[in-house]
Symmetry: D2
Amino acid sequence: MADNAITLDALQERLWAANFNKWLGLKILKIGDGTIEIVLPWREEIMSNPKLKATHGGVLATLVDATGDFAIATKTGQPVPTVDMRVDYHRTATPGDLRAVGRVIRLGSTLTVAETEIFDNENKLVASGRGVYFTGAIKP
Amino acid sequence: MADNAITLDALQERLWAANFNKWLGLKILKIGDGTIEIVLPWREEIMSNPKLKATHGGVLATLVDATGDFAIATKTGQPVPTVDMRVDYHRTATPGDLRAVGRVIRLGSTLTVAETEIFDNENKLVASGRGVYFTGAIKP
Amino acid sequence: MADNAITLDALQERLWAANFNKWLGLKILKIGDGTIEIVLPWREEIMSNPKLKATHGGVLATLVDATGDFAIATKTGQPVPTVDMRVDYHRTATPGDLRAVGRVIRLGSTLTVAETEIFDNENKLVASGRGVYFTGAIKP
Amino acid sequence: MADNAITLDALQERLWAANFNKWLGLKILKIGDGTIEIVLPWREEIMSNPKLKATHGGVLATLVDATGDFAIATKTGQPVPTVDMRVDYHRTATPGDLRAVGRVIRLGSTLTVAETEIFDNENKLVASGRGVYFTGAIKP
């Protein structure tokens, strides 16, 4: 790892410094050099379609955003602002834990791209997406 | 309006049928033919950056998704599944109500595109984005 | 206009400094403060589907990219690098001139977002899209 | 491979049935089951920035679009219409052949997502992107 290496525990603390990530209960499973896995536990309040009990697309977007951001944080030591984000919805996310796998695509001095895939508890791809993040103001 | 016109009250009820929209307290302000305005009231739990008290990018993404979807619902009478979505973040959304203005860009028999702009309480553009929605399975 | 105002002729010259824009024959119709209209004349080589004689999606993407970039140039006096871009395809673009209308959504000191709509010669919306551009290295 | 398997030569012929792909000289290097590699040879006309001799972002977008489409065609036996597309630009693409590697992310009966990475002749990632394609009208 680089000089600015950060432990899983420290990243988890940073993740929950954001109230919304904490409310969702996002939990970091493991980290690598530019990679991360985060679990989103299911809860009643995150449903969209009440018949299908589908998880809301905005919650999946949150997971794409946070997972990409903290994949970058494994390299930079800190989360950074999101410039833009896009999500593809592949399947209905029915109740159960969701697992997000993120990786840095290209780390730049100003802008960084990270990608996230979200799997359901049968390991099926539910959604995937990308964020562009601003890495031009990282403080040592 | 078209034959499948729907009232603001009926749309509000549909909006809150999704637990997550209800938890966020999304409230429809007004509707037109393919247009809608929705307010997101601020609350502690939606913060991302604790110092800036910024609203989480995932919450803004949720607002883009829901506003686009219900702009379409003013035409179709019902919300439809999101195919994909993208959001540009323009400014930090500090505490205060956010107002989302959505409109249908192109209503198709299979796929429909809707766009949303989000303004803060000083009427500054905070974020904007688009969703592609599947309108190919609408039930009369 | 701002101090860095630039004339339509000067912008047209900058546009054609890029070989590919010149090969396509992109022509600026009019400019405003953060707005622009560009015409793409049809030619045999830009077809995708040979039966429908549809214009290639990549050519439409080029038009979205260039139009957004030069909408920004009406404000900055120069085109800037594209960070990312997305295009929605609404209708088949059959032979005939295409008109692209671009506008700056949010001009930032580091990043700028511009949006483009493309119309066919019956004024129907064929495609639309957005680009994020890097305005952090503009030289006076 | 599936019943609708198609040979590299047949795909190459389909690729060049589109005038613009032929003009660009796109050449399929190899195909797999939902994967493809395509080369874009450099030529003067595809430059954007004349000083850097950079390849135009619209040409890279074309390559993302076509590569994703023909990655799908290895599974469906035919190219399909693009619904939307997005491209991230990671590095300036200086003169030299570009190699695009595409793969199907999720093949659906109505909509399919494919992703493409573009490498320069030093194997550096120049751009990457995704397309959503309409697979709901495939003819046997």
